[in-house]
């Protein structure tokens, strides 16, 4: 039944609340609320001034409505009016209203600040506390600006009441957190530290919180607090349960204060003064001892309070990381908690042990509990506890138990919550790599990961396994064999196909001897998965196919047949189409030597920071960084970059396996200057555009290239008579290219611009640009002599089926001087421009 409020019975409010509760539906509730809002509005606007009690009642009603979840847009003025009342409860309601419904109207803020100022100066402790509470609850910058200077004064003033000091301390804390710049350190800091010695435990409690926050930014100002905190703490810890009277909580002396003091001590390194340190260590040991004693009360509150102090003590011990004896004891204590009846304690023990595992003193001790933790992983019903167990296994892993832990985590992964799977996958991948002695185990682990939780195996993970396999000769054969077997499973995950495709492409030759994994078998195995895969995977498989052509010439015909299929060459996806065409052409055009060079085995990857670790840190957020940081271990062992940045391919679509395409361009000796990969240019230069012309085989291309030779200028000087050593063709003879043509032309395979031909008299340069189906090629002629070439006529011969535009724009006399290629502007300078345009885009 509704209780009439003690102290003041705002009957109207009680009735209103009852009405709301009795509403049968949401609509009825809203109706009733609106009715009341209208009533209040009219009362506030009314002629006769409301008395304090009514104002208080209405403001309280508005507050109630707001807390129900409805918006309130009036009442602030009335609430502020209440602040200036002399009646405590009216003031109280006024302050409550404005702290809950914060308003940014500057006029109101001014009035509020005025009221607070009055109350602070009133010397009435109850009013002062109200004002301080309000400042602490709102904590806005405006309030900080108005009062940040006054609060420290109130805090350390000798005549402030204890309750006022408490409130002032925490109010200052709030302001400091919100706007640290408004609270400068001053001489009050020393007095605040002194508050730690105050008789009143409440004051000490509040002061400790304040100091803990302040000393983080200004450690030197508060250094003196350490010894005071230690002596206070040891007094509390060694006190009998009756000493502290009302500050004893279920037979535990001042638990909150103890915990706060322990937190404060964690802001500093271990005390340098031997006496202080000794006292502290004694104190910590006492806490650990008490944990072993039988409990004084059966109530859970008693054990919670006692254990709260214990856990904070352990945190401090871990933070100091310098007392091996204490660390081992802490570890043992936690070990006991691991099997406690209460779930809360098991959870906290697992959490604490994680931090303990990273300390070198206690690492071994932590490892002794591995069986308990594994058991927890399997049997705990609460998923958050299981997750903590998994975290702990990760933290305690080292070379001696890596295999066991990884297999347990894999087993856990099979039934784990979907939300945490990715994290576990990353962790297993990191552990497997770090502690792998035998890399075939590593390969097995990653493949298992893909098998169990393929969807959650991110790119970083499988890139990594490929890099490691590439870098380690000893495991390549094993990897090929295992991956081959894995692919034979009826339903294998797409990531497995990716990994398998790549590995067989690189190292399939190592298992080709065995008839069960002969090249045709490998190919048909991969190809059977082909249409089930996404575009990215199919692109990767196409790359593998061309590698097969190189490795296993006997498969050439079959694979070319696949590449030639309409579904590839005319595929809607640009990447697939491009690859199919290019690979098909490459396999047909290139000699076996060229093919072997282009498709040479991948060189070892350079060593760079592990991107898996970076990804895990990003997932966990900054807080968990310390647990993941294996700074104590050899972090540089085999850390290879996760995502090698290749020379980006500007023309192809940015698919994940574009990397591979870019990478493939890297090994060949002629490092491409242009950003596009080798393959693209081949096509561009060869035909009148990119992939548009399927039928364009090698022949027209060759002819084009060969004919892109310097035409003999018709000049009186027998130019071609000089430097060209071989017999020069006559001016009319365009047929046969000069002997160096091949060499000169070859470089244009990889670049768009450059000098095509040069002798003592003439320099011919080429500058070409290609965009989608359009290409443009400029030929620049430079006169190296000091005389003009009269009637200089270049001729360009091209295959008949190309339609070209030739701009016959060049000055007949070619003036001396070499053009500078970079600044050459085709529009201005004499040049002949060829503008091949594709006739049809397929």
């Amino acid at each position: 039944m509704p209780a009439v409020s003690k102290g003041d019975g705002m009957r109207g409010l009680a009735v209103f609340i009852s009405d709301i509760r009795n509403c049968k539906s949401k609509e009825a509730e809203i109706k009733r609320i609106n009715k009341e809002l209208a009533n209040i509005r009219s009362k506030f606007k009314g002629d006769k001034a409301l008395d304090g009690y009514s104002k208080k009642k209405y403001v309280c009603k508005l507050l109630f409505i707001f807390l129900l979840g409805h918006d309130i847009d009036f009442g602030h003025m009335e609430a502020v009016n209440l602040l200036s009342s002399n009646k405590y409860t009216e003031k109280q309601i006024g302050y409550l209203f404005i702290s809950v419904l914060v308003n940014s109207n500057s006029e109101l803020i001014r009035l509020i600040n005025n009221a607070i100022k009055n109350d602070l100066a009133s010397r009435n402790p109850t009013f002062m506390c109200l004002a301080l509470h309000c400042i602490a609850n709102v904590g806005s910058r405006e309030m900080g600006e108005a009062f940040a200077a006054d609060i420290p004064r109130i805090l350390v003033a000798g005549d402030s009441m204890d309750s006022v000091k408490q409130s002032a301390a925490l109010c200052l804390l709030r302001l400091y957190k919100a706007s640290p710049d408004l609270v400068p350190m001053g001489e009050w800091t020393a007095r605040v530290v002194h508050l730690l010695n105050d008789q009143h435990m409440g004051v000490v409690t509040a002061a400790v919180s304040l100091i803990t926050c302040l000393c983080k930014k200004n450690p030197d100002d508060f250094k003196t607090c350490i010894s005071l905190a230690v002596s206070r703490l040891s007094r509390i810890v060694s006190s009998a349960s009756t000493d502290l009277q009302d500050y004893t909580y279920y037979f535990v002396p001042a638990p909150w204060l103890s915990v706060k003091l322990l937190r404060l001590l964690q802001c500093y390194p271990p005390p340098e003064d031997a006496a202080v340190k000794g006292r502290l260590v004694e104190c910590l040991e006492t806490v650990l001892n008490k944990a072993q004693e039988p409990p004084k009360s059966k109530k859970v509150q008693h054990s919670n309070a006692k254990n709260a102090i214990l856990f904070e003590t352990i945190s401090l011990i871990i933070h100091y990381d310098s007392e091996p004896n204490l660390l081992v004891r802490a570890c043992n204590q936690l070990g006991q908690f691991l099997q406690h009846r209460e779930t809360n304690l098991r959870y906290l023990a697992l959490e604490s042990m994680c931090t303990l595992a990273s300390s070198e003193f206690s690492h071994e001790a932590v490892k002794t509990h591995i069986d308990t933790v594994i058991n927890a992983l399997k049997t705990e019903r609460d998923v958050s506890v299981r997750q903590r167990a998994a975290d702990l296994l990760y933290a305690m892993c080292d070379r001696s138990n890596a295999k066991q832990i990884v297999s347990e985590m894999l087993r856990y992964l099979e039934t784990a919550d979907y939300a945490i799977r990715e994290e576990i996958v990353l962790k297993v991948a990191i552990l497997a790599e770090k502690y792998a002695v035998d890399y075939s185990w590593y390969v097995d682990t990653i493949l298992n990961l893909i098998r169990i939780a393929g969807d959650y195996v991110s790119e970083e993970v499988w890139y990594r396994v490929l890099q490691i396999v590439t870098n380690r000769d000893d495991v390549q054969g094993y990897a090929a064999k295992t991956v081959f077997e894995a692919l034979q499973a009826p339903a294998c995950h797409e990531n497995m196909v990716k990994v398998g495709g790549y590995i067989l492409g690189e190292f399939g030759n190592l298992i080709a001897g065995d008839p069960r994994s002969s090249p045709p078998v490998q190919f048909s195995l991969l190809h059977s998965k082909f249409h089930l895969c996404s575009v990215a995977t199919r692109a990767l498989l196409l790359s593998t196919y061309i590698k097969f052509i190189n490795l296993f010439p006997e498969t050439k015909a079959t694979i070319q047949g696949v590449l030639r299929a309409g579904s590839q060459l005319r595929n809607a996806d640009v990447e697939l189409q491009q690859r199919a065409v290019e690979y098909l052409t490459l396999s047909s055009v290139a000699s076996t030597d060229v093919l072997a060079t282009v498709l040479e085995e991948m060189p070892p990857f350079p060593e760079r920071e592990s991107s898996i670790l970076a990804k895990l840190k990003r997932k966990k957020g900054p807080g968990a960084a310390s647990a993941l940081d294996d700074g104590r271990r050899d972090a540089s062992s085999n850390d290879i970059n996760g995502g090698v940045e290749p020379t980006p391919s500007t023309v192809s679509t940015p698919s994940p396996s574009a990397d591979l395409l870019g990478l493939r361009a890297a090994p060949p000796p002629a490092a491409p200057q242009a950003p596009a990969g080798a393959g693209n240019l081949l096509v561009d230069v060869s035909s009148d555009g990119p992939v548009a012309q399927p039928g364009l085989g090698p022949t027209p291309e060759e002819a084009f290239l060969s004919e892109l030779e310097p035409p003999a200028p018709e000049s009186p000087m027998a130019l071609l008579a000089d430097p060209a050593p071989a017999a020069d063709p006559g001016p009319e003879d365009f047929g046969s290219p000069i002997p160096e043509a091949d060499e000169l032309l070859n470089k244009f395979v990889c670049k768009n611009n450059g000098v095509l031909f040069e002798n003592q008299l003439l320099q011919i340069g080429v500058k070409s640009e290609f965009r989608q189906n359009l290409g443009r090629m400029y030929l620049f002629y430079g006169n190296k002599t000091s005389v003009q070439f009269q009637s200089f006529t270049p001729t360009v011969v091209h295959p008949g089926d190309l339609q070209t535009h030739i701009l016959l724009a060049w000055p007949s006399p070619l003036a001396p001087g070499l053009p500078s290629w970079d600044e050459m502007d085709p529009g201005r300078d004499p040049s002949s421009a060829l503008l091949p345009e594709s006739l049809s885009a397929s």
Partner: protein, 166 residues
Amino acid sequence: MQFMLLFSRQGKLRLQKWYVPLSDKEKKKITRELVQTVLARKPKMCSFLEWRDLKIVYKRYASLYFCCAIEDQDNELITLEIIHRYVELLDKYFGSVCELDIIFNFEKAYFILDEFLLGGEVQETSKKNVLKAIEQADLLQENMKDKGYHFIMQGINDAHLQEKVE
């Protein structure tokens, strides 16, 4: 502490105290999500859970869930006892407190909380002292009307001084 929420088994919010500045929209969103998460927990599960980048400590007393959000480095067990202490305070004040008391006297619940926690930190852990402060306020109200007010104020000031000397 970042915030404390009290809500019923049906998810109705009975008290909300925010110790960090957030917009109303954010508060509503957080409340909705958290209430859902906590209500979905089974009875035997532990009282702590990780939510976003905070730790949530919750406990159920009869039909009310008390839920606190603390930061990573805060002590979970002591927060459980903060909750318990608050319930004890309410219990002492209202005499066998139940959810209805908090509904009909919500402003008192806030006042009591303010005496106990301020700015998210524990202010006063002596049950006696907290309740004394609250009761003084009630006394003030009852005696406000007559001129006895001034004497009461004096009396209260004296009482403070007395306590200090002890």
